[in-house]
Amino acid sequence: MNQVKCDCGHVNPHGTILCEACGKIIEDGTQITAEPVIDMRYEGSARRSQTYNKSMIDKVWNFFSSVKVGVWLIIVTLIASSLGTILPQEMYIPTIMPVAEYYEDQYGWFGRLYYDLGFHNLYSSWWYLLLIAAIGVSLVICSLDRVVPLYRALKKQRVIRHESFLQRQRIYGITTGSVSDQSYELVKEQLKKKRYNIREDNGNVLAEKGRFSRWGPYVNHVGLIIFLIGSMLRFVPGMYIDEILWVREGETKVIPETDGQYYLKNVDFKLEVYDKETDNEAFGDALDNAGMVAKNYQSDVILYKTKGNTVAGDEPELEEVESSSIRVNQPLKFEKFALYQVNYKLDELFKMSFLLTNKSTGETFGDITINLNDPEKLYELDNDYSVELMSYFPDFEFGEDGNPTTKSRVPNNPAFVFKMYSPEKPEGEVSFVAIQQTIEPLGDNEYKMAFNGIETKDVTGLTVRKDLTLWIIGFGGLIFMIGVVQGAYWNHRRIWIQRKGDEVWVAAHTNKNWFGLKKEIQLVLAGTEIKEPMDQMKENQVDEGEKD
């Protein structure tokens, strides 16, 4: 906990390796100072976590502060993510049978194993979330631990640096012999032209530019943290809504999660396909190969708002808010909600017509049209003929006990038990009628119900979405991009030019792109008496090496 006072007079925090002000090596024998060229990461400042290591808290802190740990977390997450792509995730499989069965049915023992391990829902599993959370924690602690000392060090740096500091920079050189003031001024001019910020102290120069790019990584980490916070907020009730709404043409239905405040009417759904004749002829070949390709599908809808107070189930009083067309890529937005075109079902059966027919003579005695969503109990016809609907199965199948039953209320496969009343048969005849089959359970009938046509309607499938976390997530993404660009596309460059007696010492440092820095130094020193410094990390001292 002792702070260290350097020869130059500056007081450094405990654990500092290079003096924040003059760069003199305070603590020798560390990893940083072991090499001939010192490691300039973090300016040799005291990375907090390395210096305080006593309690459990400190140990946890140091663990998450390590870049190595961070990289491992990234790699494990990467590998884990790939596992979820081996077989389709639960949300992408069709819902024809229970989930566990599906994996076994489709993929055998491997599918069963996949399911048992929970991989079918990998990205919501507790361990995957924990990985992401650990990355989040690492982001926070890594950044805090480094940015504070780095900021201090860069702020406190002085123009005049200690000899040992300059000697052990990667780019370093001495010019002996006289260097005229003219040269000196020329260098400063040329530095300024390259947009360096010049600080002088007693004839010594520190030229610096691009310091802001050092903060890039910390900015992008903040962006990621905001992004993760946004994702976490999704779980807060009310922040995120994901519902499906199916509406038949002509229907008006309440929009879920709007507290009964909004209704939607499906006026019309249309699907258009590309036509070889009328559309761009360039598509000809493709259309031949692919067959039918959807050109456009949309739901023309009217959005209503409830007037006054209503109770669920009641006939609400509605006023029109707007009418619009919903397409993929063009959701309908209102308040904080959005309705997306997600799915559709063409030609759902709407009405079915039958003719009461005498089987032997073929004579018909009236037709009935049954609304498959709301059939009548009794259909009266002329002359004492009538048809009673005893049972109705919109989505018919034979049950385990052999009796007819229905799978749902959607008229996918309607079946009827009719009782046909005629003057000949006043007690009625029973006939079971389904698509392509008629069964007469009580013996042969005189009459039958003959199929006489259908009417269909399209149904549109919309997703109702409310997501209040979007702006936070978007903001996080924006900050991340700014940080990444800030850190990647600019470099932090510093050039020290110091007079030492009758020598001129030049040293330089950058956090990345040494190639560019060296080129720049070349240009800046051109026409002056100051010699180009060497790259101490190259065996071959010929500039930036051969280029071919």
Partner: protein
């Protein structure tokens, strides 16, 4: 200095830990989140039964209501109907009502079913799914127990397995 550092670090770690714990907890319970929660007021509704009479939930305040959502194709619903029927008869003079909400099937199908099981309690049909949406009903059957103040005291998802369970339910909402 050292203490301050320790304090700051502890606070930060605690905050992070809390956020992680919350996320994990929320992720686990998200599938159980009900639209209508126990302890909250049951959303009011009005629907018409097979006889043509209207039933509004708020009219039943002062008495208990067992609200059951069902469909003819739902086998578990079918199995529990007799239990509900019997207990309804037993408790109807003790101020407990049963309202069975069918999820929008045709009158033909619903009345057929009702006749088959000789159901005595009011059966209403939620034609355009308004009530289902208000109650967030998805898998069937689901039963809401509403007390005399109109609050939901229990939500039972899935089939009611034994008639004794229905008796228990009735007792809970008896005024």
């Amino acid at each position: 200095m050292k203490k301050q550092r320790l304090l700051i670090r502890t606070v930060i770690l605690l905050l992070l830990g809390a956020a992680v714990a919350y996320t994990l907890y929320a992720n686990f319970t998200k599938d159980e989140v009900q639209k209508v929660e126990v302890g909250k007021k049951a959303p009011d509704f009005v629907l018409t039964d097979l006889k043509g009479e209207k039933h509004q939930l708020s009219d039943y305040e002062g008495e208990g209501v067992l609200l059951n959502f069902w469909a003819t194709w739902c086998k578990p619903c079918e199995k529990e109907m007799p239990f509900l029927n019997n207990q309804y008869q037993a408790y109807k003079d003790q101020g407990v009502h049963v309202i069975a909400v069918n999820v929008g099937e045709s009158n033909v199908a619903v009345s057929d079913f009702s006749k088959r099981y000789d159901l005595q309690f009011p059966i209403v049909t939620d034609k355009d799914s308004q009530v289902m949406t208000a109650y967030g009903v998805d898998p069937l059957p689901i039963t809401f127990l509403i007390d005399k103040q109109g609050n939901v005291v229990e939500i039972h998802t899935g089939q009611i397995v034994a008639e004794a369970d229905v008796t228990e339910m009735m007792e809970k909402i008896k005024p």
